[in-house]
């Protein structure tokens, strides 16, 4: 398997606070990684740096062969459009766009829009009958499924999911996790931040953070899978 993510001695400081301190690890293509740790341990900072939303103070972040730290603003924009699919805890849909248009928005910023393809992506997440609904007309679970469809539409190399089920009830949590499991089975590379050990245990591998450091893993890769 090829290495999709390579992080070397990554450090991020916010003033005097060190959010990430010398973090290094690799992710292979097709892996589902769960990033776990308490609040303020640096999980979201790591996701932001990997997704090109933030820049590290030092260290290297290589995603699909691209050294993210060396990209300028325009390069980061293209990187986000082409390599990354985001799923956020708060869904982050554009409130005045329909479900279909929210998916097409990602297509628009990537290259050109294809309404049929966007429709198929929504059908795949079980929202074929909700295409013209605005986010306010959708439940939390449905909104998150729109966000998953949006994250997949440009066939990204890496899916970054920050607490994707954090705002969902149990039934919707199951739907979204089933979707992620399905994507993983198809060979997608997923990096998921979560607080819940039960969700983390679904991943191939768990990376624990504490105060910006990696916590050494005792369990071998794959031993925690259900």
């Amino acid at each position: 398997m090829a290495t999709v993510v390579q992080i070397e001695n990554l450090r991020k400081e916010f003033g005097k606070v060190c959010a990430l301190d010398g973090v290094s690890f690799e992710i292979q293509e097709g892996e589902w990684i769960a990033i776990m740790g308490p609040s303020g341990s640096g999980k979201t900072t790591l996701i932001n740096i990997l997704g090109g939303l933030d820049t590290p103070t030092s260290g290297r972040t290589i995603v699909d062969g691209v050294d993210v730290g060396r990209l300028d603003e325009a390069g980061l924009t293209r990187f986000r459009a082409e390599k990354i699919g985001f799923v956020f805890q708060q869904f982050h849909l554009v409130s005045y766009l329909t479900a279909l248009e929210n998916v097409m928005l990602a297509q628009y910023f990537h290259s050109t829009t294809d309404e049929r393809e966007a429709q198929q992506a929504l059908e795949r997440v079980g929202l074929g009958d909700r295409l013209e609904h605005l986010p306010t007309q959708l439940s939390g679970g449905e909104q998150q499924r729109v966000a998953v469809a949006r994250a997949l539409i440009n066939h990204p190399k890496l899916i970054l999911a920050d607490e994707p089920t954090g705002n969902l009830d149990e039934a919707n949590e199951k739907i979204v996790l089933d979707l992620l499991r399905e994507l993983h089975t198809e060979g997608r590379t997923i990096l998921m931040v979560t607080h819940a050990p039960s969700i983390g245990s679904l991943a191939d591998r768990r990376i624990d953070f504490s105060h910006g450091h990696l916590v050494p893993q005792l369990a071998p890769v794959g031993s925690q899978r259900r």
Partner: protein
């Protein structure tokens, strides 16, 4: 997708954008109303000043006062030479006629006899009142007109006959009408140019040429300078009292209107600015998300620019229509005359409102500085 997004943006911020478009429509209505009034006033003033008579005189260079000159060879122009050039230079909106003057006698009473193109008298002097009929034939030797004072002095009535004597020659004509000009013309009698030239025995000679240019002071000056170039041997001069009065009045009205337009543009821009500043704050989250999805700042800002441009154009168009109605009402109330809609104000108003909307949308520039990571954290 671009325009789909733009229309969704417009729909998504209906409340705030309604405030902006109200400001734009109000501003555009007043501006287009003022512009329409400005164009209309120019036309009305031009027409009003046109009724005052000739506004350009061509006279021999030796003549001190053309209107007072009588037929002597040193103070005359060759009719063919001068009229040929005038006809070449004059455009459709210019009325003109040659004039020749002689002090003739009617019995024992002296009177100024004027020879001219009789059919052009009404065009040159639309404000003259006529008791009787105008003469439609240019060289009608059988008919003449008498000024009000001359008619009283000489006991002339419409339909009666007039016999003029100059030295040993006489000329007879029938009075077609008695005119009232309210000026020196009331003391004169008017006959065909040919008849007067025959009476004075000076064929093809004229004293002055009068022209009435229907247009702005600038057009009058332009026509005068073209005539000067074509007739260097003669004096061509605009009648300054008329043109300067018209120019000064127009200038003052225009200055007032332009000042008001600038003030309204500034106020409209401030109103749009305030609305857009609030809108920029509202849209930070959307812009942060768009950036996270790989939207370049150019593509994102172009959406907002198109949105604001549409808003400005729509405001300009709607306001333009309202403004035409406003100027129509103002024309009736202020000038007692309906101001005709000037269609060229629509593109002007639309362009002005689009520019104002763009200027008012400057706060949207702040969106370029949005950091997606911070926005997505909910800060």
């Amino acid at each position: 997708m671009f325009w789909r997004l733009v229309f969704r943006l417009l729909r998504g911020s209906r409340a705030r954008l309604t405030v902006a478009i109200l400001a734009l429509v109000s501003g555009a209505a007043v501006i287009s109303g003022l512009l329409n009034l400005d164009f209309g006033v120019e036309y009305q003033l031009t027409q009003q000043f046109r009724t005052l008579g000739a506004n350009i005189i061509i006279a021999p260079k030796t003549t001190e006062s053309a209107a007072e000159s009588t037929l002597t060879n040193s103070a005359l122009m060759n009719e063919d030479a001068v009229m040929g050039q005038v006809q070449r230079v004059a455009t459709a909106n210019v009325a003109f006629a040659p004039f020749a003057y002689v002090i003739a006698r009617v019995g024992e009473t002296q009177v100024v006899a004027v020879g001219t193109w009789l059919d052009q008298l009404q065009n040159l002097n639309p404000s003259w009142k006529m008791n009787g009929g105008w003469i439609s034939s240019r060289a009608d030797a059988g008919q003449c007109l008498a000024g009000r004072n001359a008619a009283r002095e000489l006991h002339l009535v419409t339909g009666g006959s007039l016999q003029l004597q100059y030295l040993t020659r006489t000329s007879q004509c029938k009075i077609s009408g008695i005119l009232d000009s309210g000026a020196a013309d009331d003391n004169q009698v008017f006959m065909s140019l040919d008849s007067l030239q025959t009476l004075a025995d000076l064929p093809d000679k004229v004293s002055v040429v009068q022209l009435s240019v229907s247009g702005t002071p600038k057009l009058i000056a332009t026509t005068a300078s073209r005539l000067s170039a074509a007739l260097p041997q003669f004096q061509v001069h605009p009648i300054r009292k008329v043109t300067e009065a018209e120019g000064e009045l127009l200038g003052r009205i225009r200055l007032l209107i332009i000042s008001m337009i600038i003030l309204i543009l500034a106020l409209t821009a401030l109103c749009v600015l305030a609305t857009m500043a609030a809108l920029a704050m509202e849209r930070r989250a959307d812009v942060g998300l768009m950036k996270a999805l790989g939207g370049s700042i150019t593509r994102i800002v172009s959406l907002f620019v198109a949105e604001v441009g549409l808003l400005g154009a729509a405001g300009g168009l709607l306001g333009g229509v309202l403004g035409v109605g406003l100027s129509y009402w103002m024309g009736l109330r202020v000038f007692d005359t309906a101001v005709t809609p000037q269609w060229q104000i629509f593109p002007i108003t639309i362009i002005l409102m689009t520019l104002v909307a763009m200027a008012g949308a400057l706060p949207l520039r702040m969106l370029g500085e949005v950091k997606p990571a911070i926005i997505l954290r909910g800060e």
